[in-house]
């Protein structure tokens, strides 16, 4: 299917159109399931002023952490950050704005963005700083906060396998935020471990249908482990 052949052969092609001050969503939970090569390419290109939406912000020298070295992130939207010294420094100095968002609200805001839902009520954060300035409402005696959805100029995800038409499957907990992020970008790029021919992925078990994916690139992954824990017998 020529019109649906989405494989690109270079990171330059993969990120074509990404420019300063754009909003970029990046999949992954900690260092698990992150599009390593695409992040590295943003670093190499030196694109700055980015608003970055991702559950975490990497560690010193790996993942989104490398973008801090050149101050490429202007605003970081995440649920949990500060696993690295550089982040802490830029956060405290005010060089970078950080908008903390509860993890489930973050996931749902991204899912809503991709699904054409501009806003929804959630119980999360009611009565806390998260609800400040936001509309609240009671349903059946419980209180809810109105949250608006997120979309992005570019969505960068990491998948296990893709076919050339952009259908994706993820592996284990490396799935995390990737499926929703894949739906919420004007341009969605998937960096994957393996690219197969259409028909090789079972249509019954595709996690992200190709309609959401604009470009597919085969990456190589270090898969660095953040907390190496081993059973002690």
């Amino acid at each position: 299917m020529a019109g649906f052949y989405k494989v690109v052969n270079s990171y330059d092609e993969a990120l074509q159109g990404l420019t300063h001050n754009m909003t970029v969503m990046v999949g992954g939970f900690g260092l698990c399931g992150i599009p390593e090569g695409l992040i590295k390419k943003i670093y190499d290109l030196g694109i700055g002023g980015l608003t970055c939406i991702s559950n975490n912000a990497g560690v010193d020298g790996f993942g989104l952490g490398i973008l801090l070295e050149k101050n490429q992130i202007k605003t970081m939207i995440a649920s949990y950050v500060g696993e690295n010294a550089l982040f802490e420094k830029q956060f405290l100095s005010g060089e970078m704005e950080v908008k903390l968002t509860p993890q489930g609200t973050l996931a749902e805001k991204i899912r809503a963005g991709g699904a054409g839902i501009p806003a929804f009520f959630t119980p999360t954060g009611y009565g806390t700083v998260v609800a400040e300035g936001k509309e609240t409402r009671e349903y059946n005696g419980k209180h809810y906060v109105l949250e608006e959805s997120f979309t992005a100029d570019f969505s960068l995800v990491k998948a296990w396998k893709a076919d050339t038409m952009g259908n994706l499957i993820y592996r284990e907990t490396a799935r995390n935020f990737n499926p929703m992020i894949a739906t919420a970008g004007k341009i969605t790029v998937a960096e994957v471990e393996e690219i197969v021919e259409p028909g090789e992925l079972d249509p019954n078990f595709i996690h992200t249908p190709g309609i959401y994916v604009d470009r597919v690139i085969k990456g190589t992954f270090e898969k660095r482990i953040e907390q190496r824990t081993i059973k002690t017998i």
Partner: protein, 218 residues
Amino acid sequence: MALSREQIAQRISQELKDGYYVNLGIGIPTLVANYVPKGMDVLFQSENGLLGMGEFPTEETIDPDLINAGKQTVTAVTGASYFSSAESFAMIRGGHIDLTVLGAFEVDQKGNIASWMIPGKLVKGMGGAMDLVASARNIIVAMAHANKQGESKILKSCNLPLTGVHCVRKVVTDLAVLELREGAFHLLERAPGVSVEDIKKLTEADLYIPEHVPEMAF
């Protein structure tokens, strides 16, 4: 004597029931998994997208694609499933988790909990804690009864920024098991060798003390 972290976890494990789906927070709550009563089946949910979290892996089975919400490498039990973060929090927010155990800096008698932010210190974020406390049907808080200066962390009203409101039901500390009923903490059990007086002294919140307060049994 005040309970150790392990003993707090052990006491909380008595609240488990066969067939429970449970989410354990980071810290003491994680230890609860080590004390599931024999013959009882419990499934642990990890909010990054795993239902059926198992023990830590061996050097041979370690897998960077398989971590828990604390970013530790783990395994999955037979019958586990993986899903997205949106699905995971749909599960949490929709009230499908039977029991949530999490740590806290402070709780108060309105059922409020503060666990994510200390002004003046670096704020790392709330992660999934606000979703969990806003949604769980059944929340147990595992925490120290007082800080090192002897100041109570069981309060009339939390001082720190809140994680959630009107959500705490039960608190297990190093000194006591407390249950919140109609705006007061009821002292259900005390740690072995800890007196009711000791607990009263370290509890700022309104405390209801029944005639008989048994020692915890392990």
